[in-house]
């Protein structure tokens, strides 16, 4: 969802600020990793114990040593471990361990469920570590799916409201468009899930599969909207039954979106604050007015954000979703004569199946 992207961006800004603080950061590498200060020893040790071909490499040895797994006492780590970024060799070890897990999960050396469960849980810990330290890490499969949940829900309600208002010329095109988008999305998610190691547990993976199936189904249903015939009463029953599920989905996504937005703002404001303090130091040490002007001109790159505006926008978006759902349900429950005709209209018959599929999407992205 949009706010999760904002959160990723803000966290990356914080990482970039650390990268800029240390001239030894290997910025040319495809993956740059920033030390976080969180304990990493159990995760690193587990990975190296599993993938012994990696464990013998110098970069991996250093990785373990810097995590506190060497002979040095805590607080007496080698100077190289104090850099802001993981060294090129350590970073390479992290990248290769991720690949090793992905390979092992794809073709496990032991097919027992106990082995696979343990492997999944260990890989999840490793991905959590990467999520924390990797600069510009690609978004996870689950995030893509959560984003699709909000967008699909919003567009779906939009299509339904046009259906309910009988704006045929618009809803036919919109349903087709949304169907294309959903098909594209499910292809994209499938593509990503094949390549990238995800932090998901087995349950989440199953959920992703279910949601993929549901999204695909919704896409298909929207495409064929208007072919089958079902009674208006049946549609009414389904809409009424599913109102709670849709409301619940809207509310839970709202809470997460609002939280994400203020968290993103917190991280970016704290980075801005540090940058402004650095500028102030440079300003204090500048030789003359000219230098000071160059420095103060950079202040405009470091402005504090407006989290109230963002929260208002997010609330407005979810209010619209709620309102759309309410009016949809109310139209179906208490139709006017004109609307009764519309509900009986063959174009609306597949609403039943579409609502069913939406509920599956809703449950899967929750």
């Amino acid at each position: 969802m949009k706010s999760s992207n904002q959160l990723d961006t803000a966290l990356d800004a914080a990482r970039l600020s650390k990268i800029n603080s240390d001239s030894t950061c290997p910025i040319a590498d495809a993956h740059v990793y920033v030390r976080s200060g969180s304990p990493t020893l159990p995760t690193v040790t587990a990975a190296l114990a599993r993938f012994k071909n990696q464990a013998v490499l110098a970069g991996c040895k250093r990785l373990k040593e810097c995590a506190g797994g060497g002979t040095a006492k805590p607080g007496h780590l080698p100077a190289a471990c104090k850099s802001a970024c993981y060294s090129r060799d350590e970073g390479n070890c992290l990248s290769q361990l991720e690949r090793s897990y992905a390979i092992e999960i794809k073709s496990p050396t032991d097919s027992s469920s106990a082995y696979i469960d343990a492997l999944q849980s260990e890989a999840s810990d490793f991905v959590a570590l990467l999520d924390e330290v990797q600069y510009q890490r690609p978004g996870s499969v689950e995030n893509t799916l959560a984003a699709s949940g909000v967008r699909a829900l919003s567009e779906y309600l939009d299509v339904l409201s046009k259906v309910a208002q009988g704006r045929k010329s618009e809803y036919l095109a919109d349903a087709a468009h949304l169907s294309d988008r959903l098909t594209f999305l499910s292809n994209k998610v499938e593509e990503v899930s094949g390549k990238q190691l995800s932090s998901s547990t087995k349950e989440t993976k199953e959920q992703v599969q279910t949601a993929l199936g549901a999204i695909g189904k919704l896409a298909g249903i929207l495409q064929t909207m208007g072919s089958n015939a079902t009674s208006a009463n049946e549609i009414k029953r389904l809409v009424r039954e599913n109102k709670g599920t849709v409301d619940g989905l809207i509310q839970s996504l709202r809470a997460v979106a609002l939280g994400d937005s203020s968290l993103a703002q917190t991280y970016s404001d704290l980075v801005v604050r540090n940058q402004r303090l650095l500028l102030e130091q440079k300003f204090a040490n500048a030789r003359d007015d000219y230098d000071r002007r160059l420095i103060s001109a950079q202040l405009e790159n470091y402005q504090y954000g407006d989290d109230q505006a963002m929260a208002t926008a997010i609330n407005a978006m979810f209010d619209n979703l709620s309102a759309a759902n309410e009016s949809m349900v109310s139209l179906v429950e208490h139709p006017t004569d004109e609307q009764k005709k519309l509900i009986a209209n063959e174009r609306l018959q597949n609403l039943k199946a579409a609502v069913g599929a939406l509920v599956e999407v809703a449950q899967a992205v929750k």
């Binding site: 809470a255 609002l258 937005s261 203020s262 703002q265 917190t266 991280y267």
Partner: protein
């Protein structure tokens, strides 16, 4: 076992606490003064990190009592920032505010 809604509310409140303390560090209001900015910013970063780790937790594995304790500690700290931001009356004692956030951090850490 905690439910999803409780966790989401706690996540949202913890995020609010992080941004409010950040704002306080940027724009300190009594009892805080500019020289407290660093301490506030550092603590706000800890709160933000606590929120971030909460975001990835599955509700099923979390003890309800601990979640409730954390929710109440976070709300207590939030109430102090709200009071500071909305009053012209006597501000609370600085140590109490920082202590309330620190209690919230402990409670979040205990989940």
């Amino acid at each position: 076992m905690a439910n999803l809604k409780t966790i989401q509310a706690l996540y949202q409140d913890t995020c609010s606490l992080a941004i409010k303390e950040t704002h306080m560090s940027i724009d300190p209001r009594a009892p805080f003064v500019p020289k407290d900015a660093q301490a506030l910013a550092d603590q706000a970063m800890q709160v933000a990190d606590a929120a971030k780790s909460l975001r990835t937790r599955a509700p099923a594995g979390l003890a309800k009592a601990k979640v409730d304790d954390a929710a109440s500690a976070v709300l207590t700290a939030l109430a102090l920032f709200d009071y500071i931001n909305n009053t012209n009356r006597k501000p609370p004692i600085k140590r109490d505010v920082l202590g309330a956030v620190s209690n919230a951090l402990d409670a979040l850490g205990a989940i």
